[in-house]
């Protein structure tokens, strides 16, 4: 069985309309017979068939416009139609029916081995270098100039490229120079006569981190419509249970209250999946796993919130060990990038600083954040009596594009119930 395809009748022909069939199903056709008329931009062209045999099926109806190469009819070659050349009518041996000429292999950038060696030596990637040699060939000069230090960027000062280059090499601050070049532009002589300013120290990593945090927080503030709900939780049971457990444990296994709060938040998030998600490309992406980010402030300045993967799983002492490891690595600046980006929700606790309540900003791309204040002794009504209880004010910040105050409140009450049964965490 072979197919009769819409032929390419010209260099710039991409499609044709089947104007008229000249055969019907069941007709016998010979190599070279006119099988159809095709309407092209240049008019009606009679189209010949190159296979011989019996027309099995017409696949395209008259008036239909199809791209070049589309199958128009099926021609059965079982019946041994005698082709004009007397040979059998099996398809020509050598003709491989591939649509479109096979593509031509493309070589990489044209550069001699010596140039490639120099590029490697100077750590220049050839793909980025524009060849100045004949027909675009990359020369040694091209590689050397590509390895030149990029001139330090300065604001829009009218300065010649040469002057800017030597200013960068000499660390001269061009913004203070008066140009004597054409059109008042700064020229090399102006730079050479200026005294060299001390090289400004590169921005410290802390500054770079602060810039990043500033950018993220600004974005969050601009883009995320925050809503806040607050709730005060009696931490009495939790702290009492913690005291008991720590008494049985050695110093190295000792737990801090923070681990209870993290685990409780994780469990609450499991019940309220809407808060455990991220906002990506304009739509919310829920996460089956719960990785709670733990805000850690760094003494040198800056704040990170690495994620404790699957915070809702494993024993409390295992979670405690992971938490200790994460904090120490955070302090030492040895966090893995995956830890910095995989958090699904974040908990920030400023209780340590004795602050009662926190109204935090969400870490994008997350869509919720839990802020914990200090656990303080406060008057608390128990069974109609006013007693002193250690209580903690917890605030939930939520992204109103994704969830609302009602869902936030239900999350906080779930968190409260979980913290009342610490032994279950």
């Amino acid at each position: 069985m072979t197919e009769f395809l819409m032929p390419s009748l010209g260099a710039d022909m991409t499609a044709g309309t089947l104007a008229k069939w000249r055969v019907a199903t069941g007709d016998t056709v010979q190599h070279g017979d006119i099988i159809a008329e095709v309407e092209t931009d240049k008019g009606i062209i009679e189209v010949e068939v190159f296979e011989s045999g019996v027309v099995q099926r017409l696949l395209v109806s008259e008036g239909e416009r199809v791209p070049v190469g589309t199958a128009l009819a099926e021609i059965g070659t079982r019946g041994l139609g005698i082709g004009p050349s007397g040979t059998g009518s099996e398809p020509e041996a050598g003709v491989i029916l591939s649509h479109g000429a096979s593509d031509v292999p493309l070589g990489g950038p044209m550069a001699s081995p010596a140039v490639r060696r120099k590029a490697h030596e100077l750590d220049v990637s050839l793909g980025r270098v524009r060849g100045s040699g004949e027909q675009g060939r990359i020369t040694l000069d091209d590689v050397r100039s590509a390895a030149l230090p990029a001139a330090a960027s300065s604001e829009r000062v009218r300065i010649s490229p040469y002057a800017r280059r030597i200013a960068a090499e000499r660390g001269v601050d061009v913004s203070v120079l008066r140009g004597t070049g054409p059109g008042g532009a700064i020229q090399a002589s102006d730079v050479l006569s200026a005294k060299a300013a001390p090289p400004s120290k590169p921005a410290s990593s802390a500054e770079r981190m602060q810039n990043a945090i500033a950018a993220a927080m600004t974005r969050a503030n601009d883009e995320i419509p925050h809503y806040y709900v607050e709730h005060t939780i009696d931490m009495g049971n939790a702290l009492a249970w913690l005291k008991e457990v720590n008494a049985t444990l050695g110093v190295s296994e000792r737990l801090v209250s923070g681990v209870l709060v993290l685990r409780a938040v994780a469990r609450a998030l499991q019940k309220h999946k809407k808060l455990n998600a991220t906002w990506q490309a304009g739509k919310v992406v829920p996460s089956d796993e719960v990785h709670v980010g733990m805000a850690v402030s760094l003494r040198g300045g800056g704040l990170v919130a690495p994620a404790l993967r699957n915070t809702n799983q494993g024993s409390l002492s295992d979670l405690m060990a992971r938490m200790t490891d994460l904090v120490s690595r955070a302090r030492a600046g040895a966090l893995r990038s995956s830890e910095m980006t995989s958090a699904t929700t974040t908990v920030t606790s400023l209780g340590e600083r004795g602050v009662e309540a926190v109204t935090p900003i969400i870490f994008p791309p997350q869509i919720a954040i839990v802020g914990c204040g200090a656990t303080l002794e406060r008057p608390w009504v128990v069974g109609g009596q006013v007693v002193a209880r250690p209580v903690m004010r917890v605030t939930l910040g939520g992204d109103h594009r994704v969830s609302n105050g009602h869902e936030g409140a239900r999350f906080l009450s779930a968190l409260d119930r979980l913290l009342q049964e610490p032994e279950e965490l």
Binding site: S132, Y162, R165, G181
Partner: protein, 324 residues
């Protein structure tokens, strides 16, 4: 001392004497002695077979030159001026330039075509074109612009020796200049530019007729304390990028002088090369001094205003120096 035209004739004589394959063909090259008296006396020495006056059919006698070159001869075809060569452009672009490539390397066309070029003789718009850039645009042919008496001689010998089609442009104002001609010294490669005068403050890049004006401008700038370097391109295809880039990397300023119209000129090509490959060495914008974009006027004062002159070159150099 020898004149530019005598230097060309000497080269033609040497070629016709030493290479049986060589012959001269063109309008009035024989009995008339050549429209610029370059071939005077050659008909008497070599006869009608080797010095052939052609009918006025530029396309066909240039095409016949290409055919003869294909047939193993070394024709030197003189097209009176570049203005008349436009009739033969099809043979140049679609036959001479592509024959080797299109035949997969089987056929070569070792033809030399010489033509006068440029303005300055008040022969108005149809006889004063500078179109070297049209030819220097075409891969498959080479283009030379001898500016000196020595080059006029050496370049023609090298061109006939070259297996590829070579087009030699002789500025019509140069035929009468005097210069030294040493026919024994081995000449420098015609495909390399030469620094005709070294300097440190600005590079004046020129070719052909404009080269002498650049030298004049350099003289005047020198009096004003500006050290100008003059680079003679000599070859317009291939362009010797190395020499002109080295010069500008040293002086950090460039003025390109070209008698063609500025738009799409060789001056534009050279400016692009400098902007691409000497960008971080430029201390001022590249200056171009070209013919005003008008059909060449007949009146002397207008023609002189149109064509690049020494004073315009000096002004451009001063502009690039900045200062007051």
């Amino acid at each position: 001392m020898t004149t530019y035209r005598d230097a060309v004739r000497t080269a033609l004589q040497t070629l016709l004497r030493e290479d049986k394959r060589a012959f001269l063909m063109g309008e009035d090259v024989g009995r008339y002695g050549g429209p610029y008296a370059v071939s005077k006396g050659l008909l008497e020495e070599f006869g009608e077979e080797r010095v052939r006056d052609t009918p006025l059919c530029e396309s066909t006698f240039v095409g016949a030159g290409i055919g003869a070159a294909l047939g193993g001869m070394r024709p030197i075809v003189e097209v009176m001026t570049v203005n008349f060569s436009l009739l033969a452009l099809d043979q140049v672009v679609n036959n001479a330039a592509v024959m080797r490539y299109m035949s997969g390397g089987q056929f070569q066309v070792p033809i030399v075509v010489r033509m006068a070029t440029g303005g300055g003789k008040q022969i108005a718009a149809q006889h004063s074109h500078s179109l070297e850039n049209w030819y220097a645009h075409i891969p498959g042919i080479k283009v030379l612009a001898p500016a000196t008496v020595q080059d006029a001689h050496d370049m023609l010998l090298a061109a006939v020796e070259d297996p590829d089609p070579v087009f030699v442009f002789e500025h019509q104002m140069l035929y009468g200049i005097d210069g030294e001609l040493d026919t024994t010294a081995t000449p420098p490669s015609p495909w390399k530019a030469l620094v005709r005068r070294s300097g440190t403050d600005v590079s004046l890049i020129a070719y052909g007729g404009s080269m002498h004006k650049a030298l004049g401008a350099a003289e005047e700038l020198g009096k004003g304390g500006i050290s100008a370097e003059v680079v003679d391109l000599r070859s317009l295809r291939p362009l010797d990028r190395g020499t002109l880039l080295d010069s500008v990397r040293r002086t950090h300023r460039a003025v390109v002088i070209d008698e063609a119209w500025k738009t799409g000129s060789l001056a534009s090509e050279i400016s692009a090369i400098l902007a691409e490959d000497a960008f971080y060495d430029l201390d001022a914008p590249i200056e171009r001094v070209c013919t005003l974009e008008v059909p060449m006027p007949y009146a002397k004062h207008l023609e002189e205003a149109a064509i690049p002159q020494v004073d315009r070159i000096v002004d451009a150099a001063k502009r690039s120096m900045g200062g007051d």
